[in-house]
């Protein structure tokens, strides 16, 4: 589904990704871990299409298409979804109106008619249950005055509404208490199936107790320096990142 080859990217002349390669197939969950400053958020930003980041070399192929050539909205309509680390508040745009627009723009892109209002509302109700989201939140402005937990649940709710193929979760666990973490994770687990894939970016192993990955990769200095299964995450939790850093320095 996703094939990243030797990706190099920078922001304002500062090199962040230094030859990152990664293969993700449908049905898989990949965790990307790494110390602060390793390039985790840059990876999610580049994949989602933030203009501030410049890709200097390498390629990203998504479902056989060149992802880097696409606008952020086309990436989304092709089935890519980024759950933001810090979902922003947008006063004056209601969650309902926003999602109706997003869902129907995607349908338009795929050559489908807009959803009937009643069908849409029914779908909203169903998907809200995935993350036990309070119904009253949807009539309010997008994320405005939401707690940290509510914002992250709203991200997973949007994910459920848009039914993406590739979900990138950018430090979704940051700032969540244990109850919110469980709700968010349960929502994600309900969405997992053989046709979609997840890229779970996190600093801590904690989230991976709930969203169990098939693969764990360690990102350091803009490259994947170690890959393994979920046991690697547990090892990192116990030993920290220093031993990885030392291994990398020793090999270079």
């Amino acid at each position: 589904m996703l094939s990243i080859k030797d990706l190099k990217a920078e922001i304002e002349g500062k090199k962040i990704l230094n030859g990152l390669s990664l293969e993700v197939k449908a049905g898989e969950v990949h965790a990307i871990m790494g110390p602060n400053g390793a390039g985790k958020s840059t990876l999610s930003s580049v994949l989602a299409g933030r203009a501030e980041y410049e890709v200097t070399s390498g390629s990203v192929s998504y479902e056989g298409k060149n992802l880097l050539d696409m606008s952020p909205e086309d990436r989304a309509r092709e089935g890519l979804f980024l759950a933001f680390q810090y979902p922003i508040e947008i006063p004056g745009v209601s969650t309902t109106n926003f999602l109706k627009t997003a869902v129907n723009e995607k349908r338009k892109y795929l050559g489908l008619d807009p959803m009937e209002a009643t069908d849409f509302l029914k779908m909203m109700r169903e998907k809200m249950d995935y993350v036990e989201m309070d119904k009253s939140l949807t009539s309010r402005s997008l994320n405005e005055g939401f707690s940290g937990g509510e914002k992250k649940r709203n991200e997973v709710f949007q994910m459920a509404m848009l039914e993406p193929k590739l979900c990138i979760m950018d430090e979704t666990d940051s700032g969540l208490d244990i109850d919110a973490l469980r709700l968010v994770s349960n929502g994600v687990n309900k969405l997992r199936n053989k046709d979609n894939a997840f890229l779970v970016i996190t600093h801590y192993q904690r989230l991976l107790d709930y969203i169990v990955p098939d693969f764990v990769h360690v990102l350091y200095k803009g490259r994947i320096v170690k890959s393994g299964d979920k046991e690697l995450a547990k090892e990192l939790e116990v030993k920290g990142y220093d031993w990885i850093k030392q291994e990398v320095e020793a090999n270079s």
Partner: protein, 428 residues
């Protein structure tokens, strides 16, 4: 030339008028106007708004209208709202198009010309007492040449059930027209009213509308006051509003400038008693070569009052906006809370905003803030919407609508808000 047209119009008036207190006041006003002339850009208050284009045109102070005003009004948004309607065409009261549904006879919703004789005592007590003519050329001009306008009197403890629309239509089908609407609104103790001034134009010639509003809010009253400016074509509009607040009054004001070649609003609040609340909101969305100038002034003359002001602009094409907001906190006005913000979004490289938030504070125990921003749409919300599959142009529209609707939603009549939001959307 405008100055000569004004002279002719005033001479005509003088030749017909009987001598009275009213005619003396008008004579004084005319003398003041003649002395001052039209403001020029040398005047600090008119630095960015040049009226020269008016001075070189010919205008007629005429009440003649040949356009199909009736058909025009049938399509206007106010036709969709249950309300009292006072309609003025080229400054003349139009009884046929007006509609008063208020049943309480102690509430007067009528035209000024009629009220001057019918309610002379109230008229004489309030008329010309709040809008200063001294050193104000355009207020003087209005006072000298005014034809008619709304007269609204809400007695103590009364609430006007339905909103009152004061509709001014400038019809320039035949000639360039000069209109001088003049409204006097008196809201007595513990009374309340919703007022909506609306400005329209039709016809293909030029329109110069020069309005003066005097609004007196007696103790404990509540006034919702909205101004909706939608004069299309070649239209010049100057609007002076003086709101005089006694103790414990609440005023919520919203100005929406949706059209007009040159629009200058002068909104003045005088807080003459304690515990007043004054809210001032404005939205302007100029396009083409048009100019919108909002000058506001809030005089905190007494302690323990709050004022909050937010003006927003969406600037398109080669348009120009001016915001000049002055808050005067007088020596006695301790414990004043006064806030003021002006936010502008530039959608074009060629649009200009001149903004000047001003505070003058003579008391020492007050909370006042002011600030202004001029910029483009924020990148972050744009990216967020696009990352959900919403195309850039749709996302931009959603964000601009949200920015503008924030002001429209300060209006407390939901069905009017819905209609205005549709108008706003059409402009974007």
């Amino acid at each position: 030339m405008l100055i000569e047209n004004i002279k002719t119009a005033f001479t005509q008036y003088k030749n017909q008028a009987e001598v009275s207190g009213f005619s003396v006041l008008r004579e004084q006003a005319y003398q003041e106007f003649e002395k001052l002339g039209l403001p020029t850009t040398k005047n600090e208050e008119w630095k960015y708004t040049n009226l020269k284009v008016l001075a070189n045109k010919d205008f007629e102070s005429t009440c003649i209208s040949s356009g199909n005003v009736k058909a025009f009004l049938q399509n206007a948004l106010l036709n969709k709202i249950t309300a009292n309607k006072l309609v003025f065409v080229n400054g003349t009261f139009n009884l046929e198009l007006s509609e008063i549904i208020e049943k309480d006879n102690s509430i007067f919703i009528t035209n000024l010309a009629k009220a001057r004789s019918l309610h002379a005592e109230i008229f004489n007590q309030h008329f010309g007492k709040y809008a200063n003519i001294e050193n104000n050329a355009l207020n003087s001009l209005n006072t000298a040449l005014l034809s008619d306008g709304a007269f609204i009197y809400v007695p103590t403890n009364k609430t006007v059930e339905f909103p009152i629309f004061i509709v001014n239509i400038a019809d320039s089908s035949d000639v360039n027209v000069l209109n001088q609407p003049r409204n006097l609104i008196i809201v007595e103790k513990s009374a309340s009213v919703h007022l909506i001034e609306m400005y329209y134009s039709l016809g293909s010639n030029s329109v110069f509308t020069n309005v003066v509003n005097e609004i007196y809010a007696n103790e404990n009253s509540h006034v919702e006051h909205y101004k909706i400016q939608q004069q299309e074509g070649e239209s010049y509009h100057n609007n002076f509003t003086q709101i005089f607040q006694e103790a414990n009054t609440n005023i919520n004001h919203v100005t929406l400038t949706l059209d007009g070649t040159l629009v200058r609003n002068n909104l003045h609040f005088y807080l003459n008693g304690q515990n007043c609340n004054s809210l001032l909101y404005g939205l302007y969305m100029p396009h083409g070569n048009s100019l919108v100038d909002n000058h506001t002034r809030v005089d905190h003359a007494q302690p323990n009052c709050n004022s909050n002001e937010l003006y927003k602009g969406i600037m398109m094409d080669k348009s120009v906006a001016v915001f000049n907001g002055k808050i005067m906190v007088h020596l006695d006005a301790q414990k004043t809370n006064a806030y003021q913000r002006n936010q502008n979004i530039l959608l074009s490289d060629e649009a200009t905003v001149n903004t000047k938030p001003q505070l003058e504070i003579f008391a020492d125990d007050v909370k006042c803030t002011h600030g202004a921003t001029i910029g483009q749409l924020d990148e972050e919300p744009m990216f967020y919407l696009r990352s959900r599959g919403i195309p850039e142009d749709v996302a931009r529209k959603m964000l601009l609508n949200a920015f503008a609707d924030d002001i429209a939603e300060k209006i407390k009549i939901p069905e009017l808000v819905t209609l205005l939001e549709e108008e706003i959307e059409k402009k974007l």
